[in-house]
């Protein structure tokens, strides 16, 4: 495994996110497993991914947004030194799904992992997005005395890191 992926996994898990490394062809089955206990899941995957399931709600109603507890989204980049993923809030319902649910499952292409936070600024496409969030672990607070996870955002973050299938 490449060093940078190892570093990413180590740091992501330090933030209490969970990770798994899969090949491109295994993505659908990995996702299926992640949502096996859910009735419905908000999906912001769009056409980039060919995962299909009856559980996926791609065009949520207001009620869906308020009640469904799990979501699946893409991420644009990963950052190895912090174990973070960057998401594009402009894309469909990515923003709301990742704010209102308690579990966020996110796909990350291993090729898109950068070493440090400053490195993502090398991408000009950042300038085309009106809202991005670099997410590092679950939502948390220490204001109430002890560290509590899952405040105004997901308590669980699961990152599926995708490597190309070997030729």
């Amino acid at each position: 495994m490449q060093e940078i992926i190892k570093e990413f996994i180590k740091n992501a898990e330090l933030t209490t996110a969970t990770t798994e490394l899969v090949k491109n062809s295994e993505v659908s089955s990995a996702l299926k497993k992640q949502i096996q206990n859910e009735k419905q899941v908000l999906s912001a995957l769009g056409k980039k991914c060919d995962f299909e399931s009856e559980k996926l709600i791609t065009n949520p109603s207001n009620e869906d947004l308020k009640s469904i507890k799990t979501c699946i989204t893409h991420s644009l980049y990963g950052i190895a030194s912090t174990g973070s993923i960057l998401i594009d809030n402009d894309h469909g319902f990515t923003s709301y799904s990742t704010m209102l649910t308690s579990k966020h499952i996110v796909l990350l292409a291993a090729n898109n992992i950068y070493a440090k936070p400053r490195d993502i600024f090398k991408n000009d496409e950042l300038l085309n997005m009106s809202s991005i969030s670099i997410i590092t672990g679950p939502s948390a607070t220490a204001d109430m005395g002890s560290l509590v996870r899952g405040v105004h955002g997901p308590e669980h973050l699961h990152i599926i890191i995708i490597v190309e299938d070997e030729k």
Binding site: Y96, R118, I134, A140, L147, V151
Partner: protein
């Protein structure tokens, strides 16, 4: 002073620090009610920051870069405001520049009226508290839901922030639990942090889902793209800025930097310096109006998003013209300065703060935004220990800001208080007292004398007055060389500067330096009696200190030009030469010439050892069971000399245990002043407990103040490291 019931004082009642008694009452209230929570939380932030920045390989370069970017931004601010406006308006957003709080509040009120807003969700914005936004909107019947948990707590408790990143740091879990139970009239147990968080989260979730407008602050604004950086851990900022159809961002004009790409420098520094994380849970960059689909969760009928950036002047453009206060505009509000500050750790921002600005950097902000320097009276709690200086990501000279504020308050109140003048001119008193030291020591300890000192200058009676040495260092040295006949083999020229404290009160330490250096073959001489001016600077008598500095620097330069290396025993005097002279002396070259030739005695011996010019050999018959604790002087640590003692003794295989306390709390005259005695003791007690737990048989400390403070706690003699070295090698 102890007769009041300080635990009943409400923080809001002592927020106005222009009233002197409020500062004193706030200290007592904080020590009795808030100290434990503040200490626990700030120490966690402090420790985590050290860990997080150690992971940044280029921390020093990042700080330099951040400093440069902020200096440029403030210099070009009028243009950058225009660029910001252009970028945001090109996307259909609105930018309003408010001269003052009233203009900002009116503008925001009008938006609320137009939007028929009944409920606003708000992310943390200290700037919004500076302008009193909530009160204005609430008067119009609009409900404001503070969504940051700390602000949620403060909204219920009706208190001002006590820290700029974690505003409710003074509240313990038990107090929060009682607060919620009383306010919400609930029987729920609410005992754990988890319970409390869930309770607040459920209340706030319904607010998010029905809010008409979201109001946020901004950490930084990039002018070229009109983008806003917003960092958080809870997720409330994401919700506040995305769910409601209208988003208003409030920011001081100083938040603007030139380019989007430069945000990369700040995002790593801000998280590490602030909460000690590599990055906070959510680092958001918005270029509003944002494109996420509008969902009108609360049955509103908005057709498109509306975005307003309200930029606030409110004294900032004036600060920009102020040669000293300008530096405060570079601040990125990370809170490192408050977390590392020993006094802040003990009392928090309700004492070391005003209506909304807190901590070391808070004084300049309070003075700059209110226009009235006495609002920054809490700057008195800055002792100039300089621990904040190497920990500020923008390298702001925070002690200097506070010294300047003290000076301006003295001028405005026309009260160069007798107390300040007494401490400031200590050297004159010492000169006279040292003519008859035994008698002076006797007189100063008489009950009547202590009574008069208490009444006239507020000198705390419980403090032991430093003794005058039986003979001054200069006289002792002159006597010593009459019988000293060692010949030195080299052309060393080393001068021990006879600083006021070493000369009059610690002559035996000065003589120890002489003997040790001579034994190691270094030709050290003692300089003439001279008033170094340190005490004046510490009192905030800056103009007087500058005059002294010019005088002393002439003396030093002459010696340096004659080839002398200068040894300075008293850490606060050494720090003045190596750091504070940069702003006291008129010429940079003079400062640089002095800075590179003044040394701490232990530092100097390390350098000579590393050049193979001296040997450090321990006497073989010495007891090797010594357990030695070293308390590093705050200012020595801040100029990078915290490790010299361990290094030196390590060369003789002697282990030194270092304390972790940032500062002993005595800080020169600070701990002698009766109004600050309790605070000083609180800080000292923490250090005392740390030392007692280690249970050493020898305690060493480089600073006069530290030795006095520790002796007060531990009741044992504390040595200067050079005295311990003498014991080991002679």
């Amino acid at each position: 002073m102890k007769n009041k019931n300080y635990s009943n004082i409400l923080p809001k009642d002592i927020a106005d620090k222009s009233i002197k008694q409020n500062l004193f009452d706030a200290i007592q209230m904080a020590l009795s009610v808030e100290s434990a929570s503040v200490k626990r939380n700030t120490k966690v932030f402090n420790t985590n920051r050290y860990i997080a920045v150690s992971k940044l390989n280029d921390y020093e370069e990042l700080k330099d870069k951040a400093r440069f970017l902020k200096e440029e931004a403030i210099k070009n601010l009028p243009d950058l405001i225009q660029n910001t406006r252009r970028s945001i308006e090109a996307r259909g957003g609105h930018v309003f520049v408010a001269k003052n709080g009233n203009e900002a509040n009116e503008y925001i009120k009008n938006i609320c009226e137009r939007k028929l807003a009944k409920l606003i969700v708000k992310a943390k914005s200290i700037t919004s508290e500076e302008i009193g936004l909530n009160e204005v909107l609430e008067k119009e019947g609009i409900e404001i839901a503070e969504t940051d948990l700390a602000e949620f707590i403060l909204q219920i408790s009706k208190e001002q922030p006590s820290h700029n990143v974690a505003p409710a740091i003074h509240q313990s879990r038990e107090r929060i639990s009682q607060l919620f139970k009383d306010h919400f009239n609930t029987d729920l147990p609410l005992e754990t942090g988890e319970d409390l968080t869930k309770f607040a989260r459920d209340i706030l979730r319904s607010k998010f889902l029905s809010a008409d407008i979201g109001i946020s602050g901004a950490n930084l604004i990039a002018a070229d793209t009109g983008s806003i950086l917003l960092v958080e851990s809870e997720g409330n900022i994401r919700l506040t800025t995305h769910l409601p159809p209208t988003h208003i961002a409030i920011a001081g004009v100083e938040k603007i930097i030139s380019n989007f790409d430069d945000l990369s420098v700040f995002i790593e520094l801000l998280a590490a310096s602030g909460t000690g994380q590599s990055l906070t849970s959510y680092t958001n960059i918005l270029s509003p109006p944002i494109k996420a689909p509008l969902i009108n969760l609360n049955e509103r009928n908005d057709q498109k998003r509306e975005f307003h950036l309200v930029l606030i002047d409110n004294g900032r453009m004036h600060m920009r013209e102020d040669p000293i206060l300008k530096e405060a505009l570079y601040c990125i509000r990370c809170s490192a300065c408050m977390n590392v500050c020993a006094n802040f750790q003990s009392v928090g921002g309700h004492a070391f703060g005003g209506e909304c600005y807190t901590g070391g950097i808070g004084g300049a902000w309070a003075a700059g935004t209110s226009g009235n320097v006495v609002d920054a009276r809490f700057a008195e709690l800055c002792t100039g220990c300089c621990r904040c200086v190497p920990n500020c990501p923008i390298k702001i000279n925070i002690p200097r800001l506070n010294t300047e504020i003290k000076q301006r308050i003295i001028k405005q109140e026309n009260s160069s208080k007798f107390q300040k003048r007494f401490f400031g001119h200590f050297s004159k008193l010492a000169k006279v007292a040292s003519l008859t030291p035994k008698f002076s020591n006797f007189i100063t300890n008489l009950p009547f004398t202590r009574y008069m000192m208490d009444e006239l200058i507020g000198f705390e009676r419980k403090r032991t007055i430093p003794k005058f040495s039986e003979i001054t260092l200069v006289d002792a040295y002159n006597q010593h060389i009459k019988t000293f006949d060692k010949k030195f083999s080299n052309n060393d020229k080393v001068l021990l500067f006879a600083d006021v404290f070493t000369n009059y009160n610690n002559a035996e330490i000065g003589m120890s330096v002489v003997r040790v250096f001579h034994q190691l073959g270094i030709n050290l001489i003692v300089g003439e009696t001279i008033d170094d001016g340190r005490a004046l600077l510490s009192q905030g008598l800056v103009e007087d200190a500058k005059i002294k500095a010019i005088n002393v620097s002439k003396y030093l330069k002459e010696k340096i030009d004659n080839g002398y290396d200068i040894i300075v025993c008293e850490p606060s005097v050494l720090t003045m030469f190596r750091y504070e002279y940069e702003t006291l002396l008129p010429e940079k070259e003079l400062y640089e010439a002095i800075r590179i030739k003044c040394f701490d005695p232990i530092e100097y011996l390390n350098t000579r050892y590393e050049r193979n010019q001296i040997d450090l050999i321990r006497k073989s018959d010495l007891n090797s069971d010594d357990k030695i604790v070293y308390h590093g002087h705050c200012q020595l640590k801040s100029i990078g000399l915290g490790k010299e003692v361990s290094k030196l003794f390590g060369k003789m295989s002697v282990e030194i245990i270092e304390t972790t306390a940032e500062c002993c709390g005595m800080a020169g005259s600070f701990g002698y002043k009766k109004e600050y005695y309790d605070l000083s003791k609180n800080v000292g007690q923490y250090l005392g407990e740390e030392i007692k737990e280690i249970n050493p048989n020898i305690i060493i400390a480089s600073g006069t103040s530290c030795r006095e403070q520790i002796t007060d706690e531990i009741k044992e003699k504390i040595y200067h490291p050079i005295e311990l070295l003498e014991k080991y090698i002679s």
